[in-house]
Subunit: 254 residues, 2 copies
DNA sequence: CCAAAAGTGTTATGTCTACACCCATGA
DNA sequence: TCATGGGTGTAGACATAACACTTTTGG
């Protein structure tokens, strides 16, 4: 049996009638920071199935493009954004019945946008909106297909990426304050970080953030104007800011 | 244009004649430790294309199984192993022309085997072998299709997993010594770790390794018999042993 | 002037690293 | 007994966390 199986798929030439055909789609989970919380870009479906529910943007992969190219194309078509940061593949989803009409395997991408707002508004007549990820994940907002699971995967990925590559700069604008950067970590990880220590560790990391010499104007309640930085390089692994361990992990923890 | 595109893929019902069909395969990169180095399980192809070259095992996804199930099934069929550790999906590959015969999108899985040896030998008449990953990646061994790229992705994933989840216990047997565990880290990360400090950090992590009370017999050159442990739980993030930063990262590094 | 936010200093505590040293075995 | 690898101790370097304090704005 093993021999037969392998001879069908590795040794023998493919015969298109011998294996099942699938539709392959590319879905893009667009994440951004807005009003201090992590938000996901969703589109409201106009037709069955899942009519009236929210879905993440996506579309069919074409035969003569790579998966990465398909993701970039879809992102542009759906949001009008030409190039997002961190357009990274994070998972494939192919459960039978995930689309009630046919066999669809989808390759999921994560895209991080710096500032959405007007971009989303101008994309299309179709109803698109930024929804807090917490609403999308706890069931407050019902998502079509298995898109809740896909969004969950995207959030887990971005959480790990923040820990691993210092990807936080992808969320903020071309120039930003240290406090804005800290807000990204606090929102994505759902933690509170000490401003003083955060600043030190960020600035100490050579080349991650680059001072511009300019300062931001304080908000309504006043305060000292914050220095403005721009993004430097990221790292393959080991971000300057790392998630602390959950409590009770180490022996002798209180 | 944007409206038309979306109406094709989100709003309108699918019409099977309107989108391209793909074959979807699941490929499994089987990694194991043998003779102190990281090895990958490869199968030699008997027919064109890429006849005589090495390839990673894999096969077509079936319509009524999930991707995870397909990976588990393929692993069993190809290696005779019923359940491997760390059978995790790590990437999808769909470049046009990656299979010269047709459009194939493959979803790649990583599997870690504790001890191979007799398992691989008994799998099948087909020529299968454990090859050092270094040979597979530096071109010493030519891989079929884009399998070199896929193996590279698997190695990057397992490197990150060691850092993130303490997955090293998946490589060693049901009971193991701390030195065996250290050898996993040293092989996968290509570093040298201090035995004394490694032991401390591993044992300090509550619940990761569990002492059995038994001891291993020393090898030929003698030495104190090592204590035997068995694997405890893994972590969502934050392994007890973490990769150190590359040099020159921090300001003021010599 | 006061409140608020940015940024600096300081200190206690914890962790990491290097390496000296002891322990238990095979030959 | 010697060589070898396992395991413990320890001191200095380094990193982390908590928080007091100074700076600079808006109102």
């Amino acid at each position: 049996m093993t021999t037969k199986t392998r001879s069908q798929k590795v040794a023998a030439p493919y015969d298109p009638s011998q294996f099942p055909a699938f539709a392959v789609t590319v879905d893009v989970v667009v994440l951004t920071m807005s009003e201090g919380t992590l938000q996901v870009l969703l589109i409201r479906r106009g037709v069955a199935p899942f009519e009236g529910m929210w879905a993440i943007p996506g579309g069919f992969k074409r035969p003569y493009e790579t998966l990465d190219e398909a993701a970039k194309r879809e992102l542009g078509e759906e949001t009008g954004v030409d190039s997002a940061n961190l357009l990274t593949q994070f998972g494939a989803y192919g459960d039978p019945g995930r689309d009630p009409r046919m066999n669809v395997v989808t390759v999921a991408y994560l895209a991080v946008l710096r500032k959405v707002g007007v971009v989303v508004a101008g994309t299309d007549a179709a109803p698109a909106a930024l929804i807090p990820v917490s609403d999308a994940l706890n069931g407050t907002i019902k998502l079509a297909f298995d898109h809740a699971r896909i969004v969950r995967g995207a959030v887990e990925r971005v959480r790990a990426d923040l820990d691993l590559t210092g990807a936080a700069t992808a969320f903020v604008g071309p120039t930003f304050t240290i406090a804005e950067l800290r807000a990204v970590y606090e929102a994505v990880w759902a933690v509170r970080l000490d401003g003083a220590n955060f600043r030190r560790s960020v600035v100490a990391e050579d080349g991650w953030v680059i001072p511009t010499g300019r300062r931001a104007r304080p908000g309504a309640p006043g305060g000292k104007p914050a220095e403005l930085y721009r993004a430097g390089r990221m790292w393959k692994y080991g971000s300057p800011v790392r998630r602390s361990q959950p409590n009770g992990r180490r022996k002798g923890a209180s």
